[in-house]
Subunit: 207 residues, 3 copies
């Protein structure tokens, strides 16, 4: 990858963190949280997935190594906090950047695990964890059943993209093209799922 | 220990993971989760305790080092998902393998900590964490008060077994016999507690 | 710092752990938890913040390295359990030692991060995590919205103290004096906030 592509990916990664922080603020806004509670939920939503991935893989946690991510999450959270007090944001405004964030987190999580020679199932799961764990923590902190367990295809899109990336990696395809293909797959499935309300079957045990 | 005993313990360890995953699916079945949500709860229930133990002890996380555990948890979760859609499983069916899993997780967690020369109280707590933390995460994800805090002796059985293992280790008893004795103690207490409804006193503060 | 000051700080650190464990027991007392559930909540409240800090910074977890903290948390939890069964404790009794604990945890968390050359924002956040994460875990285990998100200035006091410590560290002030000033700031803000009911604005999104 050329320098400019690396820079682009870094920038989009920061944008993914910022978008997830903003989504965290909107979620926290349904509860009587104070400013700090809102910031915590934003940080947990934006950084939770990558933090768990890095602790599980015993890597240096990404935002400890580079606090730009922390700054991006905080500024995005505070900006959203300020914005929603003056204008009414359409909730669907965040769906596109959120889907982009999911695609990028999935790719970065899977690649981080592959770089450490993790086996294929572990590597794909690390992509999913990076993509969706932040949202799960956000909902647990807000004392709600995690949305990611019940809505349109979200984690499934992440997992299919992660598995594609692992397969392309095994087939010897370059990191850049693998990442591009996997991110495109995640994005496509997620956007189609939103458009056509694709859901997984809901599970209810006969107990 | 002979090779065959090691193989037996490994196999029972995989079975413990599978049983906990199945129990996670049954718990998640009371909520309107989709297939992915169910898989996440199953993985958290089966792998959560050992993951926290390994992160606290700074060991390589067991299912990252050997993805057989991850596969066992997923397959058991999916099989349970398929099964409960066609037959009505008696809830008590899982109590025996679950008790076996508790005994094995307790022993493996305590031994892992002792192998790193952890002090006695830490080592015994690692056994308890390995045995019960998965169930706590499962219930938090399902937005319920953890069952392990309120039911028949569960964590207490785990703790007594872990303390016995630490004591036998300090007395110089071999790893194999210590493990056997501790596992038998956990299993006995747990099964007697289920049979005779032994519970710890419930605590209510006078506030 | 002289030996006696180090000993004093160590002792106050143990006291902070004990106070947080006692607060965890009081919180768990509102739920029908058994003795074990109560102990788990006490341990999570007392050790959760420092554990997360150490896992994020890839340090040896403090209570694994020195089980005195674990003992202090357990004994304090059990003593509180026994005490509240016979006497009615005024809830405000714990506010002063809890504020002292917040100040000490904030300072120790920030210093641990600075010792590893963490960047300023990360270091200050580690102080806050050490100070408040235990209380968040305690409330999540009790299936409640974290109190720290809604009450009088708590995390804000921690953060301002952590930022002062980082600034004094950057200015070359000695570790002892920096710690003293930061702890005093946290304590002062927290006690004034309790006395005068200072709160952050509560956030409610216009969705």
């Amino acid at each position: 990858m050329s320098i400019s592509l690396t820079t682009l990916i870094y920038g989009i990664g920061l944008a993914g963190v910022a978008v997830n922080a903003a989504a965290g603020v909107l979620e926290a806004g349904r509860k009587p949280f104070d400013l700090f509670g809102m910031v915590v939920v934003a940080l947990a939503a934006a950084l939770g997935g990558g933090s768990l991935r890095d602790m599980l893989l015993d890597r240096t946690v990404f935002w400890v190594a580079d606090q730009s991510y922390l700054l991006a999450a905080m500024l995005a959270g505070l900006a959203t906090f300020a914005l929603v007090r003056v204008v009414r944001l359409p909730p669907r405004l965040f769906l596109l950047p959120d889907a982009v964030g999911l695609a990028l987190f999935t790719v970065s999580g899977t690649q981080a695990a592959l770089a450490l020679d993790a086996p294929w199932l572990v590597a794909s799961l690390m992509g999913v964890i990076t993509g969706v764990f932040g949202g799960i923590v956000r909902d647990v902190l807000c004392n709600e059943v995690p949305l990611v367990f019940t809505g349109e295809l979200y984690a499934t899109a992440s997992w299919l993209g992660a598995l594609l990336l692992v397969a392309l990696h095994a087939a010897g395809v370059s990191a850049g093209w693998s990442a591009l293909a996997a991110a495109a797959l995640v994005l496509t499935i997620r956007l189609l799922a939103i458009r056509f309300r694709w859901r997984l079957p809901v599970f209810t045990a006969r107990l």
